[in-house]
Symmetry: C2
């Protein structure tokens, strides 16, 4: 009987535990969870702030009872302190300071990532918050209940920053969004990022691109946020969401090899350099299927996949992680923005000879009511004709997320752009076109490639 110990009770850790029990019902699985929120959906936090999810307990993908019902032992509110690969033990401490040593046959590290704390003076002031974990969430919630802030500055125009801008606007706060780059959502090309920015502005969010925040200071009852170039605004609360950094101190101390940005190095089976120790999720380097190299690209969907592979292999399986394509989607008010694969600049940097085009088509036949325009970016390699990446921005009822998934499936198989037209996709006038918009966009790329050849 294998005793599998897992450090971390978020997506990767829970996925590993569930898969291990599924593949080998005789295995014993113990998951060490630093807080009391196992399997919480970090991606769901903004919807608690908007009160679309009134009770934060509902953010759990599964309850603790669901997990233990699968035959998994949960050690809640235990912090792992030390891994001893030679003795095959993990030491952990609970909230009361009680220490214990847990022996393991196999270990999965799923310690995740921490919010980056940028070098802004005043970042530790009361009313200034990082946002990553459930404890962060509860702290902000308590502050809002006590202080009833009327305005907030959000530093960082990535997914969480934009979703929180929507959520707090819905709660009635005046939101100021500060982004260092030229457009928000810089994971998209600027043309499509501009569409997202327009939606935010339309909904009353004050969007300030190209602002490098340097200082937060008390200003009477308020907090004054100052940027380079003289930017200055007084607000009642500040949220900081400028990315994450892998949490790998424990792994490093155990002699586990780290790579890019301090993330744990793993092989395609999710094994680290230490025998019997696997790692998965936001604390590891991730294989990129198109780039053919490791990247640091922490995403919940990827963490689930990697955790599942690690859990299967920890109990004797031979699963392989197929790699990421960086497929991502975000909903901002009524707009959805999604991408998969490489943008033009990324493709160029990777040694391709990319051609990228912009294209617009409606989500379904325009004669049927409720058609929405979708904006596409298609990137392909001129020499080989290979599809390299796609981006779509459009209405939340335009099936943007599942349309990007069609490109993701095409990319997975290394299809050419013209190959996308060969896919036998579904058609009915209220939901699509005889050539789906994803195929029309691919055909527009083909035509452009023919002209520029």
């Amino acid at each position: 009987m294998t005793h599998l110990v897992i450090i971390g009770g978020s997506d990767a850790g829970i996925s590993a535990g569930l898969r291990a029990r599924e593949i080998d019902p005789t295995s014993r699985v113990t998951i060490i969870v630093a807080d009391r929120f196992p399997n919480y959906s970090v991606c769901g936090i903004p919807y608690y702030f908007s009160r679309e999810v009134p009770d934060y307990h509902n953010l759990a993908h599964r309850t603790a009872d669901d997990i233990t019902a699968k035959g998994i032992d949960l050690l809640l509110a235990h912090t792992a302190q030390h891994i001893d690969p030679a003795a095959k033990t993990v030491s952990a401490v609970d909230e009361a300071g009680q220490q214990r040593t847990i022996p393991y046959d196999k270990l999965v590290i799923g310690t995740g990532a921490d919010a980056i704390k940028p070098a802004i003076s005043g970042i530790d002031l009361e009313g200034v918050f990082l946002l990553r974990t459930m404890p962060d969430t509860l702290a902000i919630d308590a502050y809002m209940a006590a202080r009833q802030p009327q305005s907030v500055a959000i530093i960082g125009g990535g997914y969480i920053g934009l979703e929180m801008a929507e959520a707090l606007t819905e709660r009635g706060l005046q939101v100021t969004l500060l982004e260092r780059s030229a457009t928000v959502l810089k994971t998209l090309d600027a043309e499509l990022g501009a569409l997202v920015q327009a939606e935010l502005t339309r909904r009353g969010v004050a969007v300030h691109p190209r602002i490098d925040v340097t200082q937060i200071a008390r200003d009477g009852e308020a907090l004054r946020v100052r940027g380079a170039d003289g930017f200055s605004r007084a607000v009642d609360m500040v949220l900081v969401s400028v990315g994450v950094t892998p949490q790998t101190d424990l792994a490093a101390a155990a002699g586990i090899e780290l790579g890019l940005r301090g993330a744990i190095k793993v092989n395609p089976q999710m094994a680290t350099n230490q025998p019997g120790i696997y790692a998965a999720g936001d604390c590891i380097e991730t294989w990129h299927r198109l780039l053919n190299e490791y990247t640091y690209l922490p995403l919940g969907s990827t963490a689930h996949k990697q955790g599942r592979v690690a859990g299967e292999n920890a109990v004797g399986g031979a699963a392989t992680f197929a790699g990421t394509l960086g497929t991502q989607v975000v909903k901002i008010f009524d707009l959805v923005a999604a991408r998969t694969g490489l943008r033009d600049d990324e493709a160029q940097a990777a040694g391709f000879d990319p051609l990228s085009i912009t294209f617009a088509a409606t989500d379904h036949k325009i004669y049927y009511p409720g058609a929405h325009e979708l904006a596409f970016r298609i990137t392909g390699d001129r020499a080989s004709g290979r599809l390299l990446g796609a981006q779509i921005v459009g209405h939340k009822h335009g099936a943007v997320a599942k349309r990007i998934d069609i490109y993701a499936a095409a990319l997975y198989h290394g299809m050419t752009v013209s190959g996308v037209s060969d896919l036998d996709l579904s058609y009915t006038p209220p939901l699509g076109s005889p050539w789906d918009a994803v195929q029309m966009a691919a055909q527009a790329w083909e035509a452009a490639a023919r002209v520029t050849a």
Copy 2:
């Protein structure tokens, strides 16, 4: 300069013409169109009856002007009468009886399919209509305007029958739907067909499965529809939509080889057995990518693909039709039903050893408002683990159509069911799950296959 003549102005013919002009702008293209409705969306007709499309002219994918602006000559209201492959001419006659002979270098036949006229006594009575073409549409429309029918019997529970049931219910008619099989939409497994039937009933459609209509007779002002087993109902109008048959008399008379159900035989380049003559769309046999054989499976999306291949090759290209997977979708009131690949019985008949499972999952995280349950059927081959088919029924805002397309892309590449979990699909709580529902359904199949292995 190639003179390409195309017989037929619907999806296949127009696609062929447009592609020929795109690939070879020096080519001359003439399209012979039997009516005055080139490039009309037959699939859009029900939405004219519902008045969601108030003006039927909007059903054209392109106007005649759009088409001629691409450098294509349209011969409207001309019926092709004879093809002479030796002389390379087509003779056609206009409404005034004026004949003309048109020489061609290459010919594309896109004559489509006719509605099947079943052997029901009384089918030629006034008030009884087949529904396939724009002239049919206008005839029904005129009858409805003159007679103001309050009730209708629709014979045939396929796509058009169901869409017309919705449309005429929306127009205020009492609709009786008569289907010969045990459930409507027999293109789906009965379990999922039952969900569609329930939606129709909920919306006030009187659904009568297992009714074999034998007679329609005048009954005072009304029409009485009688079936075997004593079924009898009086209605004001009858629509008959029980399938189509390829229109290939012209081709047969020209010595072009026919196959299944009288459809034209073509090779993967869309060439017939007669040199220089191609065919595409609802008048031909279609290669099935999974069955590895020809079938008769007329669909608008397929006609576009085949027309494009025929048009490209007619002007010297070397395009190949990649084959159909039978991907289909239909919206019925608030429900969407879709399928791709093979059902269990079809897989069995094709020599696979299929396992099919039923599975339910919400379209997005259940904690976010507005989640809809999706019902899945997954069919895979026990021996190889290969995905063979998928069916989904769910709410119109559940991205059912584009979710079936993810399976269609997987099928195209011959993926295993478990391979679907490797796809890097997009995730955000309002639109999906870390494992998309399509992956959860695949994992449920895997678990079932493990248990039954």
